[in-house]
């Protein structure tokens, strides 16, 4: 803490600074008589200064002595926190690799692509994978799935859930010695029960629901992922007032970012693609415009490369640009079966 912030008289302050004591820590460990000699003041006065200084130090709070603003953290603390939360796997090793292990909690990830590329499939896979128990390397959490388009088909979710349980049992079987105690007791119906499914039919419902999630998640603390499929459908209708649309979208984005941070969960937003006239030709771009593109921490674009599906990291503060192949199988999202696949670094 700066000497300048101590509630002491101006002359005392100028004597401290002249003697070279600019911060609390520089003289807090001295004895009062030592300080008195340095400042050429009486012992009593020095003791008084020390008393005020230690009081101010105690009010300061954080051990690192850095925080003057409530809620600030050191980067070191943040790194430790980040390492504590495992990422949510996508069940495709290549995809997990370019994502740094999977979808990150505390962040908003946007995933966009053409119809039929597998956005809903990836959404369902993540809603199931978040439930993988901690013993199997997952988060053991629940999922909130907000369906705006009606693409969620329960039989497909059941199919993917059954495949996930099968994979886990195989994995558990290999590591038998440690997992005797925690035999996998998951049933596909349990997995479906742990997905909180909301269907919204208009943009007002969508915004109302996202505002309500704060309350919902505080009552269901084990929710670890919120998936919106798709975030864009209800906003592509004609808005008489485009400024209203921008306001609504940015409000929604802020709300989602806050949810991610406050509850340490992952937010995955599925987006559609549209065409944009750039440099004399039409190019594919994610919908909702330029201002929306700032709303997400990470951006993944799914695209076709010949007959193969690829995912590309378009924007991320911590991941490098790379693309990886994946496939959609009857079991869900899996590695691509092609022989000549490789992860391309940009």
């Amino acid at each position: 803490m700066e000497v300048g912030r101590l509630p002491i008289s101006a002359s005392q302050r100028s004597k401290l600074i002249a003697a070279g004591y600019t911060t609390l820590s520089s003289f807090s460990s001295l004895s009062p008589s030592h300080l008195a000699r340095d400042l050429k003041i009486s012992d009593n006065e020095a003791a008084e200064i020390m008393r005020v200084a230690s009081h101010g130090h105690r009010l300061d709070g954080s051990a690192g002595g850095c925080g003057t603003v409530n809620g600030a953290q050191t980067a070191w603390d943040m790194l430790h926190e980040e390492e504590m939360f495992p990422r949510i796997t996508t069940s495709c090793e290549d995809l997990d690799n370019i994502l740094g292990g999977g979808i990150n909690c505390k962040e908003v990830t946007e995933i966009g692509g053409v119809p039929g590329i597998g956005k809903t499939q990836l959404g369902i896979q993540l809603a199931i994978n978040v439930q993988i128990p901690v013993d199997y390397g997952g988060l053991g959490g629940k999922a909130i799935y907000i369906d705006t388009e009606g693409s969620f088909m329960v039989e497909r979710a059941l199919q993917i859930a059954e495949a996930c349980i099968e994979d886990m049992s195989e994995c558990g079987g290999l590591l038998r010695k440690d997992f005797q105690a925690c035999q996998l007791k998951m049933h596909p119906n349990n997995i479906l029960e742990n997905i909180f499914y909301f269907r919204v039919c208009s943009y007002t419902e969508q915004i109302a629901l996202i505002n309500y999630l704060d309350k919902f998640i505080s009552e269901h603390k084990d929710v670890k992922i919120v998936i919106v499929d798709s975030v864009t459908f209800h906003f592509r209708q004609d808005f008489d007032d485009m400024a209203l649309r921008t306001r609504l979208l940015s409000g929604m984005a802020l709300k989602l970012m806050k949810l991610a941070k406050d509850f340490s969960l992952a937010v995955v937003l599925l987006n559609q693609v549209t065409t944009k006239y750039i440099d004399g030709s039409f190019q594919l771009t994610l919908a909702l415009g330029d201002s929306w593109s700032h709303s997400c921490t990470n951006r993944v674009i799914l695209y076709w490369n010949g007959n193969e599906r690829y995912a590309y990291i378009d924007k991320s503060p911590s991941l490098r640009s790379a693309s990886a192949p994946y496939s959609v199988t009857s079991k869900g999202i899996r590695n691509s079966a092609s022989n000549c696949k490789r992860i391309k670094m940009m």
Partner: protein, 299 residues
């Protein structure tokens, strides 16, 4: 706001059968309720045939794969094919003798629409038809044949008009989906195709769904209404029609030996492909159109 209990949807989403087990198998049981399914094909491939057949089989009880429901058939291009409907319904009654007391054609409500704005204008009327539970069978199937005709002529090719057109897509699709959710409807729309010219570069050549390119009558085609409309439907099925020389596939005919292809017997092969669907893998199945209806063929 409470979340929906997914276990209530088990074992699977309700579907409307086509009345043919082969077609149903290809499509996981039929046309799903609570979503919009698009049938894309060039003219004469069988879209209307399939729609008429669905309107009849929707009246079957759920134990036979139907919805025990009436249908609303909105037609936009040609006059409603009532003679063909009567022909199909006779075949239908004879194959399901004990189900129908009345004429199944009485359970199909027909309405003509000529523009996109008109479609939007009649939505309140549609809603009251759906709410009307006084009739014996409530309406649970809506067919729009075809959606493309509503949009293809009245919008100019300027950016503003195209933008207005695409926001109309989302408005109509949003309204249909919200009705589908409220009343548990199956919505089927048919769409036309446009030819793909020259290079596959450009937006029309963009691969959307499982098929690298859609081929019908030997030409590369792509669905009308563009990428924006593709984002509005839940599933897309493509019907193709191609001519093949009889016997060519199993080598029983040597084309070159017959002195050129002109005098070889040809037949039309029709296929139904799944372009994209959230619950179906990439699959396709061959079908034929007979007097009694559309039937899948297993070869």
């Amino acid at each position: 706001m409470t979340p929906e209990n997914l276990l209530h949807r088990l074992p699977s989403t309700q579907k409307c059968t086509f009345g043919c087990p082969v077609l149903d198998r290809c499509l996981g049981g039929g046309i799903p309720c609570n979503s919009i399914t698009e049938l894309v094909a060039e003219s004469g491939c069988g879209k209307t045939q399939l729609c008429l057949q669905l309107a009849l089989s929707a009246q079957l009880p759920p134990s036979l794969g139907g919805l025990s429901a009436s249908s609303l058939y909105i037609h936009t291009e040609f006059s409603f094919p009532s003679r063909r409907l009567h022909q199909l319904s006779h075949a239908f009654i004879s194959s399901h003798p004990r189900i129908f007391n009345n004429d199944p054609c009485d359970r199909i409500f027909v309405h003509a629409v000529y523009s996109a704005d008109q479609l939007f204008d009649i939505m309140p009327k549609i809603e009251s038809l759906l709410e009307n539970t006084n009739t014996q069978l409530p309406v649970k199937l809506i067919v729009i044949d075809s959606i493309a005709a509503l949009f293809r002529s009245e919008f100019e090719n300027t950016p503003i008009e195209l933008k207005r057109r695409s926001s109309l897509f989302f408005k109509i699709s949003g309204k249909l989906k919200s009705l589908a959710k409220r009343f548990g409807l199956a919505v089927v729309v048919t769409n036309q195709v446009v030819d793909l010219m020259g290079h596959s570069e450009g937006m029309n050549g963009l691969k959307v769904g499982n098929l690298g390119s859609l081929v019908s009558s030997g030409r590369r085609v792509c669905p009308a209404l563009g990428l924006a409309w593709a984002n509005c439907v839940n599933s897309r099925l493509f019907l193709s029609r191609n001519e093949e020389v009889v016997g060519e596939e199993n080598g029983s005919v040597d084309v070159s030996a017959c002195g050129g292809g002109d005098f070889l017997p040809r037949q039309t092969r029709r296929r139904l492909h799944v372009v994209f669907a959230p619950h179906l893998p990439d699959s396709s199945c061959e079908f034929v159109i007979r007097r009694e209806g559309v039937f899948g063929v297993e070869r």
